[in-house]
């Protein structure tokens, strides 16, 4: 069964505990604990051993999306070393100052493809350069970022063709032209369905749509439908 769940950031920004409470008792098997701002990471790492995560077959941590070189060395990497190996760490490539510092994370690290506003990590070629620097890292394939960069989904096709076997997690949502995450529309699901069949069945789907508590079930249903349409749900 493909693990599907939410990013805590999408449900409650930096308040991961509230987000966990929102999905408790729902049929959700994956969670991404998000610390997109630097100041959110210490609390998350401290709380990690005490969180009730039994519900989830897949748990990932999203590292902050912006930090300086000093923070990278002295704070971010030091804190992330405390994250158990079984929890993948999602990292935006454009945040990396020194890739050598990140190699020790090996396969635990997932490099995420970026949207068109960013200057790096958007294309198969740019991702390939990062994967050369971080040879054991996997990919968090953000399907909305790929569509934002290239609405024809040709770049998504390229990324999946070249690095499909390294994809361990998928971010799914809809982005508007200002790169804000929104619930999935018909148009987005149509675009995504063109390439989801190339995503490995083992990859977990993490919903990043900014939604309210009342929208959790309907958003989940859209993603489940997309996954099942593409026959990604194993027996």
């Amino acid at each position: 069964m493909t693990a599907i769940g939410f990013s805590t950031g999408a449900l409650a920004l930096g308040d991961f505990q509230t987000a966990l409470n929102l999905v408790r008792h729902k049929r959700i098997s994956a969670i991404e604990l998000s610390a997109l701002r630097v100041h959110e990471l210490p609390d998350l790492v401290t709380a990690l051993p005490h969180l009730d995560l039994k519900q989830f077959s897949y748990v990932a941590i999203h590292a902050p999306s912006s930090f300086d070189a000093h923070e990278e060395e002295e704070l971010i990497i030091e804190l992330l070393r405390n994250v158990p190996n079984r929890f993948p760490i999602v990292l935006h490539p454009d945040t990396i100052h020194d890739s050598a510092r990140w190699t020790a994370f090996g396969a635990q690290l997932l490099i995420e493809n970026m949207d068109r506003r960013k200057s790096d990590g958007r294309t198969a070629k740019e991702l390939g350069a990062w994967l050369n620097r971080l040879p054991d890292a996997g990919i968090c394939f953000d399907i909305a970022h790929a569509q934002h960069f290239d609405p024809t989904m040709t770049e998504a096709f390229r990324i999946l063709g070249q690095f499909g076997n390294r994809i361990r997690q998928v971010h799914i949502s809809e982005l508007d032209s200002a790169s804000r995450h929104f619930p999935l529309s018909y148009s987005a699901t149509q675009a995504f369905s063109e390439v989801t069949g190339r995503i490995p069945r083992e990859a977990a789907f993490i919903v990043e749509s900014r939604i309210t508590q009342n929208e959790i079930d309907s958003e989940l249903q859209k993603v489940q439908s997309l996954v099942s349409q593409m026959e990604l749900v194993p027996a």
Binding site: R117, F149, D150, T154, F157
Partner: protein, 339 residues
């Protein structure tokens, strides 16, 4: 269209195989690189993730000569933002301040404008697909480059290709003897329509301008314009793996966009050179080599002509029906075939 280094250009690789130098093409290629670099510095940071400064014509073909003008527009592919007009005016002012581009874009009003992606992608065919819209769309595919930031340019070009391939319901369908149709006919038909439009507009301009500049336009119609059209047709046939000799081409729209997008990144001359390069080991190799040499050498001479002020001036003044320019021969014995 990203400018490739001269050494990696399939055009000059073909020249090496054929033992040809094509000095005028080399010179034009290098000059284009210089002009593009200058424009890149001049217009640095003016484009954005949602807008690109698009240049078409001889610079888009890497055939810059002394008489080249600058056909450009600011292409916007993003949320409506009135600031785009300010960017456009800034770009226009900067370009008009460059001596060699003082002449400005053509008088048809197709270039030197703020242009939005929606009509280019959405309005293919039908009454609203104006001459300007068609021209911008086809030139974006066949002979254009982005100065600096190219994200919007790349996106729109793929968006156009997607339209042509999506609407082509018979694409990848097998015929009665089991052959797959790889050639995108919607695209092919629109390229052909554009070529017919150019040809008809040639007569229109003759009428409108009282034969002024007839000869030079006639020469360009039969060389650079025709070359662009031929390279577009070839792009359609390049979709067929038997023509492109690309292994593993999937019967899938994104795969074909990927292939076409890469092929269209090349200039018209390079596209044709790629075809020759791919087929020079065939049974018809000597025929192909002979024709490739003749064709590219003639084009080299055409570029030489555009770079010679005297010849070009005479051609500009030459009246229709007065073919008083004497054909010359170069040291390799190729007759000047331009007029």
């Amino acid at each position: 269209m990203a400018l490739t280094e001269e050494t990696s250009s399939p055009l000059f690789k073909l020249g090496e195989v054929l033992g040809e130098d094509w000095p005028n093409l080399r010179k034009a290629f290098a000059e284009t690189q210089t002009v593009v670099n200058e424009l890149g510095q001049l217009l640095s940071a003016k484009a954005s993730a949602d807008s690109s400064i698009v240049v078409t014509g001889s610079i888009g073909r890497k055939e810059y000569t002394q008489s080249s003008d600058l056909d450009w527009y600011l292409l916007v592919d993003g949320a409506a933002d009135a600031r785009d007009q300010k960017t456009f005016l800034t770009v226009e002012q900067l370009i008009s301040g460059v001596d060699r581009f003082k002449k400005g874009p053509g008088k048809e009003g197709t270039f030197g404008k703020l242009v939005f992606s929606q009509p280019i992608i959405h309005l293919i065919g039908g009454e609203e697909d104006s001459n300007k819209n068609t021209t911008r769309r086809i030139l974006l595919l066949l002979e254009a480059i982005a100065i600096g930031e190219s994200r919007a340019f790349d996106r729109v070009r793929k968006g156009i290709l997607r339209r042509y391939l999506d609407e082509d319901k018979g694409l990848f369908r097998k015929d009665h003897i089991g052959n797959t149709r790889w050639v995108p006919l919607f695209l092919l038909n629109d390229l052909t329509r554009y070529w017919r439009t150019i040809a008809v507009d040639f007569a229109y301009k003759q009428f409108d301008r009282g034969n002024k500049g007839y000869s030079l336009r006639s020469v360009k119609l039969g060389t650079s314009r025709k070359l662009m059209f031929a390279s577009g047709l070839l792009a359609c046939f390049w979709c067929d793996p038997q023509i492109s000799k690309i292994d593993g081409q999937e019967k899938q729209v994104q795969g074909l966009i990927d292939n076409l997008d890469e092929y269209l990144t090349r200039t018209p001359l390079e596209r044709i050179a790629l075809f020759f390069n791919a087929h020079l080991d065939s049974r018809d190799a000597s025929f192909l080599k002979r024709n490739a040499s003749a064709m590219f050498s003639a084009y080299d001479q055409f570029i030489e002509l555009l770079n010679e002020n005297e010849s070009r001036d005479r051609l500009e003044r030459l009246q229709e029906g007065k073919r008083n320019l004497t054909p010359r021969s170069n040291e390799q014995g190729h007759q000047k075939t331009i007029w």
